[in-house]
């Protein structure tokens, strides 16, 4: 199980769209992932340690080094398959790499 963290302004709308889209698409591609959605402001170094991949809308400045892979998931919010596909592809590549390393 790969744990992914999505984030947005209130942890309600954008991050949940990303969560739903990633969970659905990755399941279709045969991966088991779990995505949590939070307010970006509440992310700490400690919190990120619990996750394998971070999928913000756009790259944030959090004040510490992000030690897990970061994939910008903004294009998912356009709701157009051609635009979100590269995000999912990159995610798939990263998941495979993580699995290999374990």
């Amino acid at each position: 199980m790969i744990k992914i963290l999505a984030a947005c302004g209130a942890g309600i709308n954008s991050s949940h769209q990303i969560k739903t889209a990633i969970e659905e698409e990755m399941e279709n591609r045969g991966y088991s992932v779990k995505v949590d959605a939070v307010v970006i402001k509440d992310i700490t170094e400690e919190l990120l340690k619990d996750y394998d991949i971070f999928t913000p809308i756009s790259k944030p400045k959090l004040g510490f080094n992000i030690s897990i892979p970061v994939i910008e998931a903004g294009p998912i919010l356009y709701r157009m398959p051609a635009m979100s596909k590269p995000v999912f592809d990159e995610l798939e590549k990263t998941i495979n790499q993580l699995k290999k390393n374990n």
Partner: protein, 470 residues
């Protein structure tokens, strides 16, 4: 004609009589089916919205049930009249999505977007269907004050809609600058909170002319946010504002703790329930996006999404963190304000606009933000009777509270539009004076926006020049 209306009534009245939650369950399920969503998925969304509406009502009941009496004591012991409970944005969004008119205003704005795209008056395709509730609330306020004048409400929503699409176009280069996005990135937003930009820009120009030296003292926003830690999160805010009300309201220690825990619990629950109805609106958003992108296949445009792509900039959070205690202070001293800030105290309805206009100059954001907060508090106070009435109508307000107990959102996006909606609504009842005032106010609103567009255009020309000289 009358038989048609009678027939429609006999068909729809029983549905309407079911109440908001069952009605919206049926309407959203049917709409999702029309958007070719699978039946089980469509029904899942419909059920979730109905449950979200019910849950919001029950949390509002718990929160106001505990806070309203304490706030009454607070008023008695301090003499400060803060009787309105600030529930934040999620309950207001849910309540608004519980109204059929939101679907009507959605239709109006989608058609407007298509027309403007065809006429090349905008380059923005809006897929942020969820946030239609912001314009819907403006329309609903007009109707509330004008004895249900739908025509007047539609006109105002269209005027604001046109400006929002233009605004999404002219802000685009600033988004690229703030987030280091390449020109090929289509992200923009039509969010109502950026309609405050013209007023913020007015103040920003004053800084340019008189206090430009202040930018030297800008500090690192990221560092500040790290120091604030969990104190800015929802449960913590609910907790210490509960303690604050308890102490100033001279409650017992036991009751003070109850206020703190109930406050923290409700603010967290509002967010959790808020996520529920996102999935209910999702099929509708996807369906409209599919329809629109098919219609304009092959054309390049910007895509309007919800504002939080800007949440990556730490300045907007630093400003929100600093503005929170300032708002509490304002609430205590402003004559006429009746809101005790709670659910809306982290002013995400304000700081994204500050970020865009000042381009991340943190001190300007804080100072201009401080000057803007009273507008939000007065606007939130002004719409409280309306919000409470609507909440009661959709069954999201407890019946056993005193008549003066009200709810609102302290930092609801588009505070100026709320005042305009009230003024326009009152003009709908006739009277030359009211009509003239409404016309004058709308005219000033439009002129200020035109001035702002000019400023943004010259800013955008600078961006283009910089790129060419590289």
């Amino acid at each position: 004609m009358s038989t048609i209306i009678e027939f429609a009534n006999s068909l729809f009245q029983p549905l309407i009589n079911l109440g908001a939650a069952p009605l919206m369950l049926i309407v959203l399920t049917v709409l999702a089916l029309l958007m070719k969503v699978k039946f089980s998925k469509a029904l899942e969304g419909g059920i979730k919205l109905a449950i979200a509406l019910t849950a919001m009502g029950s949390i509002i009941g718990t929160l106001t049930g505990v806070f309203a009496p304490a706030l009454e004591n607070f008023v008695k012991s301090t003499g400060i009249e803060l009787s309105i409970t600030d529930v934040g944005w999620a309950p207001l969004a849910t309540i608004t999505w519980g109204s059929m008119y939101t679907l009507y205003f959605l239709l109006i704005l989608v058609v407007l977007n298509i027309i403007m795209l065809i006429l090349n008056k905008t380059d923005t395709l809006d897929v942020d269907i969820f946030n239609v509730w912001h314009c819907s609330i403006v329309g609903l306020i007009v109707m509330h004050y004008s004895n249900n004048n739908l025509f007047l409400a539609t006109i105002l929503v269209i005027i604001i809609g046109i400006m929002k699409f233009i605004n999404a176009d002219i802000m685009k280069p600033t988004f690229n600058y703030l987030l280091d996005m390449p020109d090929s990135n289509p992200t923009t937003t039509t969010h109502l909170n950026f309609m405050l930009n013209p007023v913020i820009m007015l103040f920003d120009k004053i800084f340019d002319k008189i206090f430009p030296f202040i930018d030297k003292y800008d500090f690192d926003a990221t560092e500040l946010n790290k120091k604030i830690g969990f104190w800015g999160s929802k449960f913590a805010i609910g907790f210490y504002l509960g303690i604050f009300v308890g102490i100033l309201g001279k409650q017992s220690v036991k009751d003070t703790f109850e206020l703190a825990f109930v406050g923290g619990m409700c603010l967290e629950l509002f967010s959790i329930i808020g996520t529920w109805f996102i999935s209910a609106v999702e099929p509708l958003s996807q369906g409209i996006t599919n329809f629109m992108s098919k219609k304009f296949e092959g054309r390049m445009f910007n895509i309007g999404i919800d504002w939080p792509f800007l949440a990556a900039r730490s300045e907007m959070w630093a400003a929100a963190n600093i503005l929170a205690p300032i708002m509490l202070l304002w609430a205590l001293i402003l004559p006429g304000n009746k809101i005790l800030p709670l659910g809306g105290i982290i002013a995400i309805g304000l700081t994204p606009a500050l970020l865009v206009v000042t381009r991340g100059k943190i001190l300007r954001m804080i100072i201009i933000g401080t000057l803007m907060l009273p507008v939000f508090l007065y606007s939130g106070t002004a719409i409280a009777p309306f919000v409470t009435t609507v909440a009661k109508r959709v069954g999201a307000f407890p019946k056993n509270l005193p008549a003066n107990a009200m709810i609102t959102h302290s930092t609801l996006e588009g505070p100026i539009e709320k005042f305009i909606a009230i003024i326009v609504g009152k003009a709908g009842n006739g009277g030359i004076k009211n009509i003239l005032i409404a016309l004058a106010v709308v005219l000033i609103y439009i002129i200020l926006f035109i001035w702002y567009v000019k400023q943004m255009n010259s800013r955008n020309a600078e961006y283009t020049n910089e790129k060419e000289s590289v």
